[in-house]
Amino acid sequence: MASWHVPRFFRGLSRRDFISTGMKGMAIVSVPMFFGRDPLAALTAAPAGTTPADLFARFGIDESILRQVMVAALERGGDFCDLYFQHTISSYIGLEDKIVNQAYTSVDLGVGIRVVKGDQTGFSFTEDLSVPAMRDAARTAAAIAEGPAGKAPTSFTHQKLPNHYVINTGWENVSADRKVPFLQKLNDLIFAGDKRIIKASAALMDDTSFVLLASSDGLITYDYQPMAQLRASCSAEQDGRRENSYADLCGREGIEFFTAERVKTIAADAVRRTVSLFDATKPEGGEMEVVLEAGSSGILLHEAIGHGMEADFNRKGISIFADKIGKPVAEKFVTIVDDGTNPNVRGSLNVDDEGNGTQRTYLVQDGVLASYMHDRISASHYKVQPTGNGRRESFRFAPMPRMRNTYMLPGPHKRDEIIASVKKGILAEMFTNGQVFIGAGDFTFYVKSGYLIENGKLTRPVKDINIIGNGPEVLRKVVMVADDFKMADGGWTCGKDGQGVPVSMGLPTVKVSSITVGGVQS
């Protein structure tokens, strides 16, 4: 992670949209137990204490308190308000220099209070869940509106939602001693994997979030959101040269997900990706055919079309896709969706952060631009149903339209036939990050490793190349789509306006007929 960094020190840049691998920052982590406001209630809760009663106890609230806070939030005439309670327990445990020698934990507890008036948002949060503190925060958020007080609900309905991330064991019940062996095993496998390995590091990160959302529509929704990532990185040396790469597996999974087989795969991938770089070169730069390997190549969709289809950008007219709904944008065999319902996938959600159930949303259907991704404000602006894309980094942020798992459905071609069709180009396999300017449409993604394709055959590895293109143009140039769809399983975090949220993406093997590849000039 350290060797692949996207600097965020520009005020301006941090507001832009980008994606990178790895969970947010280093300083995350946790302790194998509950830290509820009311420790007794928390300790008696079931492993996945997600019944309404469990969550009310966890946050020390009841319906009458919710009502009192809503009265304060709407006292200046907001149309709508919601209270987003969240308790997140995070843990990071790491191995370096052959020993498990570092652990970081964090506990985050609080409520975000949002008041909406038309397209306008007032927002505040408090980490103190006492009634006076919550009322103060509500009054701060209320200041966005000016007018006679709105009405708080007199009773609440509890929404029942499906569970897209069934797990056996919640991470909050897994103590550190059970995590240590995964890291030691990764270390041993990596050093056994190749004589050239000189350093290995590994980390197991998990996150458990308890969420309760109450809205002035009188709805209460709740969720239990697990997340886990196992990651290994290594460096190798050959003839005085060094290379470094990594592999990871991530999802809304419990500890049972990391089977011996999966641990082996992570170690083997990390070693293979690292040592193959010794043979890698930089290609000659310029426009060429690019084949995207099935899986995390879905980063292409995230940048080329995903951000541009987030409805807030279109409501403001600042996306290159504004006013293009219903128009053909790609070949007939191209269908692109954003989906919150894929079982245990990193970007999946039972309910979005505004209380809307998630769904599969068609962005492009049979080549035609179909729907934007909406949050509550944009859905009401466009007078459509919400799509379940209202997301926030945590209770400290107001929600906005964000992607979940963005992917392309399988197409009519075969992978072999696609590779064979390329005279001179690149097969892009592993990615670290990407970015887009949603108005102009230029987007990039960084290829950490891949292969050169010459006369229909993979010839030699390539590394460290940025690929840059224009969203709508590249969509038109998707000329072949294979039948081998794969979802990415890495730890992708999408950044927008200073908020990071977990996402995933997927793609079958795809050929783009021409795009600019960074490289050397002959």
């Binding site: 301006g12 370096e96 007032g122 930089k282 600042i318 990050n433 000039q521």
Partner: protein, 441 residues
């Protein structure tokens, strides 16, 4: 709402409690930050956010084992439980002889100078004034062009207080303010697209913020000059990188300059101390004492007393960034694990003047995506900018990649400008390079 004395009391208590339940040493930090943000668009307030966050961070050293913990729940019984559990879980880790708090000699002499990081008028700033500033920026921008599609103007400020109490005797206090003002502007480019640009500035004292009208107008001018942007032919170009984007390139050297990268063998700068890694035009100073600087500090995040250091002198690497842990592992003298203010001295000309020297060149105004590899120095970045021919700007450029190796890139540096971007801790001027490789059409 904790004051200074209460923060110190809580931090001391946390260290004491950690030791009581089994830690040999502990370092506690309490941070409190009040943050307010206003965004205006279409002459309405789009978003108004105001909140205070507080946290306790605790680093624990238990029988030679180390862990770090953070919580936002500062309720005393909850903290007792949190600390006891944290100490217990540390027991499951392996002993690491290099994990210990810094020696006293590193914080014995701390520069007592007032760095002017706190706007004492902060408490008196009312929300109405914040909104007014954002509105003024928007009003300055909107009439600039008929091609404007959207202007979002914003104002934000933060008041941060932080108290450190470590069991090695270090005690630290800091308080600062920061004010950001700016605008994002999108304009119409026929049927082609909707180019966007921004102008944001951050300062320590509100009175130092640039005139609101100038911010709004700058943002529009920058967006307008992107109209007609296109990729041009791949090739070798002379390049000027605008001050506010230059940090993207220099940051590629900063990962490899850390003790962590060196110790983990992920640095192409290993063994390069005292050797030439850049052209003579590059002299980089890490200066923690710049008055009102965004990276200014008297001590760093580990409590090490800050010192001004020339890290690269006329192209020769003079210092690595050495933190306490990896420094011990490598047996190196500690400097600091993180940069403060980065200052490049010696320039005499502005970007405009340097552009006149480009025969066949590109002015890079921003980077998009891309990355660099700290182990090998390879990099590839997307760029946006202006094409220059015979010293004149002739059109807008985008969708191109700048690629190469950082080892050679910095040797191609010909000149640094006299125009540092002071709204960042990376106070870089514009940079002029000879013969860089760009891929485009």
């Amino acid at each position: 709402m904790m004051d200074r004395a209460q923060r110190k009391e809580l931090a001391s208590w946390a260290v004491g409690y950690a030791r009581k339940v089994g830690a040999d040493a502990a370092a506690a930090t309490i941070e409190r930050a009040r943050e307010i943000e206003v965004a205006v668009r279409a002459r309405k307030i789009e978003k108004l956010t105001e909140a205070t966050r507080s946290s306790l961070s605790l680093n624990l050293y238990v029988k030679g084992k180390f862990s770090g913990h953070t919580t936002s729940n500062l309720n005393r019984p909850a903290l007792e439980k949190f600390i006891a559990e944290a100490v217990a879980m540390t027991g499951y880790l392996s002993e690491d002889p290099f994990r210990m708090l810094p020696e006293e000699k590193y914080f014995r002499e701390i520069n007592p100078a007032d760095l002017q990081l706190l706007d004492t008028a902060y408490a008196g700033i009312e929300t109405a004034r914040r909104v007014k500033i954002a509105r003024e920026i928007e009003e300055a921008a909107l009439p600039m062009s008929e091609q404007i599609i959207s202007v979002t103007a914003s104002y934000s400020d933060a008041h941060t207080e932080r108290t450190d109490v470590y069991s090695n005797g270090f005690m630290g206090e800091r308080e600062s303010t920061a004010f950001s003002t700016g605008a994002d502007v999108t304009v119409k480019d026929g049927e082609k697209g909707r180019p966007e640009d921004w102008m944001y500035t951050t300062v320590r004292l509100l009175n130092d913020a640039p005139a609101t009208a100038e911010i709004g107008k700058q943002a529009v001018r920058r967006a307008l000059r992107k109209i007609g942007q296109k990729k041009i032919q791949s090739g070798v170009y002379d390049v000027v990188v605008e001050n506010r984007s230059a940090a993207r390139l220099l940051s590629g050297l900063y990962g490899p300059m850390t003790a962590r990268a060196l110790q983990q063998k992920r640095s192409f700068l290993e063994g390069k101390l005292g050797t030439k890694i850049a052209s003579e035009a590059l002299t980089v100073t890490d200066d923690p004492f710049v008055p009102k600087g965004l990276g200014s500090r008297r001590f760093d995040s580990e409590g090490l007393a800050a010192q001004k250091r020339v890290v690269i002198e006329k192209g020769v690497l003079k210092h690595y960034y050495v933190d306490n842990y990896y420094g011990r592992k490598l047996g190196m003298e500690l400097t600091s694990g993180s940069p403060s203010n980065i200052v490049l001295a010696g320039g005499t000309r502005s970007a405009e003047e340097m552009i006149r020297d480009l025969k066949r060149g590109i002015l890079i105004t921003s980077f998009i995506g891309g990355n660099s590899n700290s182990t090998t120095g390879d990099y590839s970045f997307g760029i946006v900018g202006q094409q220059v021919e015979n010293g004149q700007i002739v059109g807008a450029v985008n969708e191109m990649n700048l690629s190469g190796n950082l080892g050679t890139l910095w040797n191609q540096l010909v000149e640094v400008g006299s125009d540092p971007w002071i709204y960042s801790s990376w106070r870089l001027p514009s940079l002029r390079f000879a013969g860089l490789e760009l891929s485009g059409a």
